[in-house]
């Protein structure tokens, strides 16, 4: 309601004074009537009320200006003056070219950074998913707090149960991103794909371009080998011909028949180029959690209802297989799921860039105000010879809009360039479905920002400066004396605001850069220098059993050793900081039986060859690494195991050493009738940041390669020289062993490490850049204001010099005044930064928000900036020649 009162500010004052309350009451009654008739009626009332006020607007303005302007001066012709306005504005802007370029540059910087951040926000949070009614699609997964896993991935048996019993979904499906070896004439290519259950496209709401979806029979165990290909593959490999249906593709050395082509929108969650049916067996009851779920809710169903229904369908499993209720299904909004990591970052960047825009706007406002003050005389003369006030205001508006259009266009270009730069520096961080190209929303955003900036920060100050009495303006301006007190105060206030915001941003940016530095210097627990890693995809048909799997890997290692420049060759199932995880459970000998509510954290399980540890630079805490005889007995005999320090601490709290202790794979008491395969700890490694530098370390273990030979798919090469330079030779050597087994994901460990912190690097540096930009803007703003004020005081200063003031006194006076203003701003800003630091805590990686070094650097940098900005004008003031200055104007 008070908003309507605000709107009434635009109604004719005469009416408002007399009938304000009644008008408000009337609007309230109309609104109340409309409420009964629903949202559209309410919107209609608002619309009519706005139109009603807007209808009275021109009359009001004309009346206002006529009353305040001069009387009896002939009216200018009102129509078609825009052309001359633009011409005049151009002349005036061109005349003050330096000032105009400064304003445009500031606007472009402010708007450009805002556009860059907005396009991030737009791509991540605002742009709709390319599916019909995307709001009804939910992400489905399972959670197991007792295993210390927020998401376990979905168990196929659980899924089968949900699909049979659920009542809230139109369709529910699982997908599993997989890569295939696609046979070509030259050998094999690696192609990203997915195995999906039959309803997957029904969930997304997508139809094949040609062909059909998987049938129930095809999505059953041992079903026919069929595949759907993506539009891109269709065009690249089959020339987009309709006779592609029924053609064959050799995937993972098996022949699949193409039954359809899917459009680009189906490439969810991104980069998927072909699909095969999952062919899961609901009757296997194994403890394997490896799929991800999606479901389309029926219309009107909420996420809460979907969650409740999922838990209800899980009841059968709680009653039989999972009596401790360890694993619980959940559904979550799709966008929320895929943007979880970005929420804090996006809001921090949004806040920072808004502050930057405000600093830029304060600058523009200060410049425009100073300019308007300097032009009071011109305006006074134009008024006196008969220009109407409305005309002058329109003239100023046109000038400002022209500036903002140029600034906005430049800003849009800068923003686009910045976002492209950012995205190329973040290859794998943005979710792959996102799209950051220019769209209508961004253009609208840029136009709105620029125009709002122009009107609020350009036109308003001009109005403010002009709104004084004509005669007074003429008198003071003619005398060429100091600026009016009101204008001066506004200028100082703007400088205070600029410095406050700049120091706030400088401190926050500094904290984040420092946090980044701390992350970068964190010990990863391995030695990333001169290490090349890659993965081989060995199709199951190539190595049907462990013996053949082991034989292939032996050949691979031997061949790698022969590559020039390689000094050590290791095999691992899952390299550090590579976004992989393979979990299992282990039980220690003589461990007390676990209560139903005791946590049972999942253990990171890796398979490692003896040479892996030295190639990767993993450090031994006690005991020994594997040797070639470890695991030679295979899975069915007692064996050896290496564990990490965290494992020892969590499994045997208080134990001095883990060496010699025994454990077995599995959770709870061993199944009766089957002998226990004991694993004896032979080595304890120091902790290694497997999940990334900022993530906690989980208990983890290593098993020798012969235990699970077909999982040891990543090859780790320690090299004598630059590891990247031998990549082609390595690639060729892998193909030489078997042309249908390509090496992929070839990266040095340094690259992987850099990639794992690239998101933090990006936003830290963005904030750092924003902070420096704010500083530069504050420098320019303060310089401009002081210069203007000094130029206005020329006469006064001249008098002082003439009366015997020393030049050093003059510059000191000028400096003292400006620096006082600057320091007020800095103090406010730093106080604010200490408060704001708390909101950043989650991004600071343990750096305290009141970090003394950063605060000191910020204070010094800003003080130096303030001094620099004011020193030149002060010096200029001290050089005032009394004779010249007294004659000036």
């Amino acid at each position: 309601m008070s908003f309507y009162r605000l709107l009434l500010r635009f109604a004719p004052r005469r009416l408002r004074d007399k009938h304000g309350r009644e008008m408000e009451a009337m609007f309230r009654a109309q609104l109340a009537d409309a409420r009964g008739r629903g949202g559209i009626a309410v919107a209609a009332v608002w619309f009519h009320a706005l139109a009603d006020i807007a209808g009275a607007l021109p009359r009001n303005l004309i009346h206002h200006w006529r009353r305040r302007g001069r009387v009896g001066v002939p009216q200018e012709r009102r129509s078609l003056m825009i052309g001359s306005d633009i011409r005049y504005a151009w002349r005036s802007l061109n005349h003050q070219r330096f000032g105009s370029i400064l304003v445009i540059g500031m606007l472009a910087l402010g708007i450009g950074s805002t556009v860059a951040v907005f396009s991030l926000v737009n791509g991540l949070f605002l742009r709709p998913f390319p599916f019909p009614e995307p709001d009804r699609i939910v992400y489905v997964n399972e959670t197991a707090p007792k295993w210390n896993l927020e998401e376990t991935s979905v168990n196929y048996h659980d899924y089968a149960q949900w699909r049979r019993d659920q009542k809230v979904f139109e369709a529910i499906a699982l997908y599993d991103e997989r890569a295939f070896n696609l046979a070509t004439d030259q050998g094999a290519d690696r192609m990203q794909g997915a195995s999906v259950t039959m309803d997957f496209m029904k969930v997304l709401g997508i139809q094949p371009i040609i062909g059909r979806m998987f049938t129930q029979e095809e999505d059953s165990p041992k079903g026919p080998l069929v595949t759907l290909i993506g539009e891109a593959v269709w065009h690249e490999r089959f020339g987009g011909r309709a006779d592609v249906l029924g053609k064959e593709l050799k995937l993972n050395s098996r022949v699949f028949t193409i039954i359809g082509v899917l459009p680009k929108a189906a490439e969810f969650p991104g980069g998927v180029r072909l699909w095969v049916p999952m062919q899961g067996d609901p009757n296997t009851n194994e403890q394997s959690y490896s799929f991800t779920g999606l479901a389309r809710m029926k219309p009107g169903v909420t996420i809460e209802q979907a969650n409740a229904d999922l838990v209800r369908t899980q009841q059968g499993i709680f009653d039989t297989r999972d009596k401790e209720r360890v694993v619980t299904p959940f559904a979550r909004d799709l966008r929320e799921q895929f943007t979880r990591d970005f929420g804090t970052v996006a809001s921090t960047l949004g806040a920072a860039v808004s502050l930057l825009l405000i600093v830029a706007c304060a600058n523009v406002a200060a410049l425009m105000l100073a300019r308007a003050l300097a032009r009071r005389r011109e305006m006074g003369i134009r008024l006196a010879v008969g220009a109407s006030r409305a005309r002058l205001l329109r003239q100023l508006l046109v000038e400002n809009v022209m500036l903002s259009i140029v600034g906005g266009a430049a800003g849009l270009a800068i923003g686009q360039w910045a976002i492209q730069l950012l995205l190329t520096s973040l290859p794998d961080q943005a979710p792959s479905w996102t799209n950051f190209t220019l769209d209508g929303r961004m253009i609208a955003f840029t136009i709105a920002t620029s125009v709002a900036t122009a009107i609020l920060f350009g036109w308003a100050p001009a109005l403010h400066a002009m709104n004084s009495d004509v005669r007074a303006a003429m008198a003071t301006a003619t005398a060429g004396s100091t600026a009016p007190v009101r204008g001066r105060r506004t200028l100082w206030a703007l400088v205070v605001a600029e410095f406050a915001l700049a120091s706030l941003m400088f401190v926050c940016g500094g904290l984040l850069v420092r946090a980044y530095d701390r992350v970068r210097n964190t010990d990863p627990g391995f030695d990333p220098s001169n290490v090349l890693t890659f993965t081989v995809a060995v199709p199951a048909v190539k190595t049907p059993d462990d013996a053949s799997g082991l034989a292939y890997r032996k050949r691979l290692v031997e061949r790698m050793r022969a590559v020039a420049g390689v000094t050590e060759v290791g095999l691992i199932s899952c390299a550090p900081v590579s976004n992989c995880h393979w979990g299992s459970f282990f039980t220690a000998e003589n461990a007390p039986p676990r209560g139903p509510n005791d946590p049972n954290p999942v253990i990171l399980m890796r398979v490692a060859s003896p040479e892996y540890f030295s190639a990767m630079g993993v450090r031994l805490k006690e005991g020994r690494f594997f040797n070639t005889s470890d695991g030679s007995g295979g899975r069915d005999q007692d064996g050896t195991i290496i564990v990490n320090d965290t494992f020892v601490k969590t499994t045997w709290p208080g134990a001095a050493s883990g060496i010699g202790k025994r454990l077995y794979q599995g959770s709870g008491p061993p199944a009766s009738g089957r002998p226990i395969r004991w694993l004896t700890v032979v080595g304890v490694t120091e902790d290694l940041k497997h999940y990334g530098l900022e993530r906690p370390v989980r208990p983890g273990i290593y098993l020798p390669v012969p235990i699970y030979p077909r999982n040891a798919n990543t090859v780790v090469l320690k090299t004598a020289g630059d590891p990247a330079s031998i990549a082609p030779a390595v690639q060729a050597a892998v193909r030489e062993i078997d042309p249908e087994i390509p090496a992929y994901d070839m990266r040095t460990m340094d690259e992987r490490l850099a990639l794992s912190r690239s998101l933090r690097a990006a936003y830290s540096w963005m904030l750092g850049v924003f902070a420096v930009m704010a500083l530069v803007l504050a420098l320019g703003g303060s310089y401009g204001v002081t210069s203007y004020l000094v130029s206005q005081r020329t006469r006064e200063l001249g008098i002082r010099v003439a009366l015997g003031a020393k030049r050093s006194d003059i510059s000191r006076t000028v400096l003292k005044g400006s620096l006082a203003v600057v320091s007020i701003g800095v103090v406010i800003g730093i106080a604010g930064a200490i408060g704001a630091g708390r909101f950043l805590a989650s991004l600071l990686f343990g750096v305290p928000p009141y970090d003394a070094v950063i605060l000191a650097i910020a204070a010094i940098a800003l003080a130096a900036t303030g001094f620099l900005a004011n020193w030149l004008p002060a010096r200029r003031a001290s050089r005032v020649d009394p004779m010249v200055s007294l004659r000036a104007d």
């Binding site: 004719p12 009416l15 009938h19 309350r21 009644e22 609007f27 109309q30 009603d52 009275a56």
Partner: protein
Amino acid sequence: MKTREYLILLALAEADLHGLAIARAVQELSDGQTRLWPVSLYGTLESLEGSGLIEELEDARHRPADESEKKRFYRLTRTGHRALTAETDRLGAIVKIARSRLKPRPEGAK
């Protein structure tokens, strides 16, 4: 005379009313065709008052300190009544002429 002015006068011919009641009466009289919104309603009331067609009802009992607090009732002046009658006659005459000229179209013509 504008439609909304005419309708306001017509509403006030029946009873002395305040702003919101006038708006409601006008909506009813025009069969929902004309709705008045705050600024245009009070703007019209002001101009009608200015030309002497309506006047504000003096209420000695209730006089709040703030002018805008007041709920103002309006009544038709004698001039206003005359103007309303004249306008009604004029409109009636126009309608009569229009009716006599507008012959129903022959069936089937397009």
